[in-house]
Symmetry: C2
Subunit: 429 residues, 2 copies
């Protein structure tokens, strides 16, 4: 074994960073044996240097992250700051000064992954980011490497623990969205400002990353259709139960049937209770991958948290250190397929639509005509009346999102349709 | 991209091999783009050369596998023959003549993995074998690489599709073992001689491989405790149902509580219906991995079959080809921890024991005394009588297998115990 240690610079020392530092210390011998050389924490860049950081020598702590990544003797920079800047500049500078990078930064990778990969490649360095998607769950490596000889057609998963916790609570207790969110906040599963989670931004970033590696195509955050889950109601869960379904916030990356384009989207959807994703509870994550040869695979585990994310970071750290020792680099960006990313209108799926309608003869015929005119075939209709008002629940066969949108617009114009109570996609059948 | 192709020799062209050859042809462009150079099928060694093999040029087919691996211009040998010989000699010869090897051979790797790794390392070549465990499910790579910075404490899974198909059929139809086996054979899920599957040899080989990589310790097939599932009865399933459980054939690799030793075992066990492994149906496989930092992870998918196994083989092929191009090698054997493998007697778990006893006063007291004398604490007892005979179902708290074995031996000696109807371990609680 080489005795001269590999030097690691840690950018950020919050929940994840402090756990990375702790494991690097407590498991130093194991890491050295697995890498083939010891690893040494050479510096830790933080914003608040006065905070006590157990187990980290005070002389390693600095507020000057730029100087740290510019030192020139750093082998690997571990970036767990999050956000676009200064993370992007620091990673770029790290490559320019000879380091490889392990990042957990989904927002940055979804937005600027291609540019960062280009800088890494230019300098012959590694950019690894297993921790950016689904926390501890090995997903980037299996999709990028284990399935490298296969053709992936679909990636569908629960990739945000906060929203899954909220939806699971709504499902099991009958609570409304706000009540469930309050519980999640009280228990530390939701942040004070939960926007990134509940509006689907976090899941959309992960969808962009997953779609990119699954389809060997650049998929940016802007390419991902995004719908949050703040408007999911207790009534939606009641409707789902009647269908033998539950509701999950899903990230879905699909190859079109003709293989010539891809789509990526995040939205709440009904899925059958018999689907493995339906039984993913609490803050857990799970991702289904469907490919030509392997068939259906599922990966399940904790999608966030300090320790699980640190596990993923350290797995990458070991790989990158091994690459440094052997003078090789791991797989870089693979975007050769360069498939067009189609808009949401091209997505084909089923829909569950609840309408408030006038309780009089002929309404169903009117509504059915609108669906037919837009080429959306109806699977089932359920009608229930109360005091001159009636509700109509329509479940469609597979149709394009554009056709469904057109249908709903036309329905809204009908005098007999008082309102569209909810539209929910039905997946996983 | 390099234009000179990497040359691949295929040993075996059965269900898996023919699928590997097919995908290499149909997906040649994708493979080339992902590897950075084209791959060419340079030879196919078979036993029966006269068989028609669609899509494989007849001039590539040979019966002389040894000459093929000795050619010297082969970059990667893909071994999908199975069995110990001639596979072992061919792989060794391949390394000696400059090739890296991708193998799907669980029996060989469980028996001689250390020796083969040593030859590979001596010649600076790769030995990859994702397909040897759980078919298409990425498991070797995630455990060996993604979790390389973590400490794995337990690997527990369903790693044999044939036995899971049989047990699932028994569970859902109430069929007996023979009836379910006959169905599995008729549907092609069980081989004409099902011994390797139903007696747990196949699962034990996979357990040895998984324990080795999870604990960085050499675990050979002989180290794995093995109990088949041919004696599982419909009555056992009825007992399991009463406990809110089902029965699965599990491979379990554990680190002892003190961390100083490991165990590996394969046997039928009751697991709670709420456990994710309980809902693994048909011939599917699933493996739970528990580690310090990542927590609980699960990997699920098809555990066998030509296409899924080919997917795993091709993923390895891409990785090995990339390594060839960069002049590096992937992770080799990691056995530095060299932990002792403890015998089955040291395993600690819970037990479900059904006894046929005389229906008279004092029997329960006698039986309870025997458990107490052997230090096995009882959780619940259920007694039911019929015509002077009675049955007693005892569920224990956690106890060592040695203590349980001693208890059962002593119970057999009691006049009032007519027989021990079944002993089943209870896992996953």
């Amino acid at each position: 074994m080489r005795t001269r240690p590999l030097k690691v610079a840690l950018l950020g020392c919050g929940v994840v960073g402090s756990e990375v530092a702790r494991i690097m210390t407590t498991h130093a011998d194991d890491l050295a044996a697995r890498i083939g050389a010891p690893v040494e924490l050479a510096g830790v860049a933080v914003r608040r240097p006065d905070r006590v950081r157990e187990g980290i020598a005070p002389e390693l702590v600095t507020t000057d992250a730029t100087a740290l990544v510019k030192r020139g003797d750093i082998d690997v920079v571990v970036e767990v700051i999050g956000g676009i800047e200064p993370a992007r500049s620091l990673i770029t500078t790290a490559f320019e000064h000879g380091a490889s990078v392990v990042s957990a930064n989904k927002a940055l990778l979804a937005q600027d992954g291609a540019a960062l990969h280009a800088v890494a490649e230019q300098h012959g360095k590694d950019l690894y980011y297993e921790a950016a998607v689904a926390g501890a769950i090995p997903l980037i490596r299996p999709v990028r490497e284990s399935l490298a000889g296969d053709k992936i057609n679909r990636v569908m998963g629960i990739v945000n623990g906060t929203t899954n916790f909220i939806l699971d609570a709504m499902d099991s207790t009958g609570a409304g969205y706000q009540e469930a969110l309050d519980e999640a906040t009280a228990l530390g599963y939701a942040e004070a400002d939960p926007t990134a989670d509940v509006e689907g931004f976090d899941a959309a970033a992960k969808a962009a990353i997953l779609a990119g590696i699954a389809f060997h195509t650049r998929v940016r955050l802007d390419d991902v259709y995004r719908e949050g889950m703040t408007e999911v109601t207790a009534a939606d869960f009641a409707s789902a139960k009647e269908m033998g379904c539950t509701i999950k916030l899903l990230a879905i990356c699909e190859r079109a049937a003709d293989g010539a384009s891809v789509t990526a989207r995040v939205h709440p959807a009904m899925i059958p209770l018999s689907h493995p994703l339906a039984s993913v509870r609490g803050a857990y994550n799970a991702v289904f991958v469907e490919s030509d040869a392997a068939g259906q695979l599922m990966f399940y585990g904790p999608g966030a948290g300090g320790s699980p994310t640190a596990s993923a970071v350290l797995g990458d750290l070991v790989a990158v250190c091994r690459n440094r020792l052997s003078g090789a680099t791991g797989p870089g960006e693979s975007a050769y397929a360069a498939l067009p990313v189609s808009p949401m209108g091209d997505v084909v799926t089923r829909y569950h639509i609840s309408l408030d309608v006038a309780d009089k003869p002929g309404v169903l015929a009117q509504v059915a005509t609108v669906f037919a005119e837009h080429g959306v075939s109806i699977d089932t209709v359920r009608q229930s009346g109360k005091d001159g008002e009636a509700s109509l629940v329509v479940v469609t066969h597979r149709a394009s999102d554009a056709a469904l949108t057109g249908t709903v617009e036309a329905l809204r114009k009908l005098d007999t349709v008082r309102g569209v109570a909810s539209i929910m996609r039905v997946e996983g059948e």
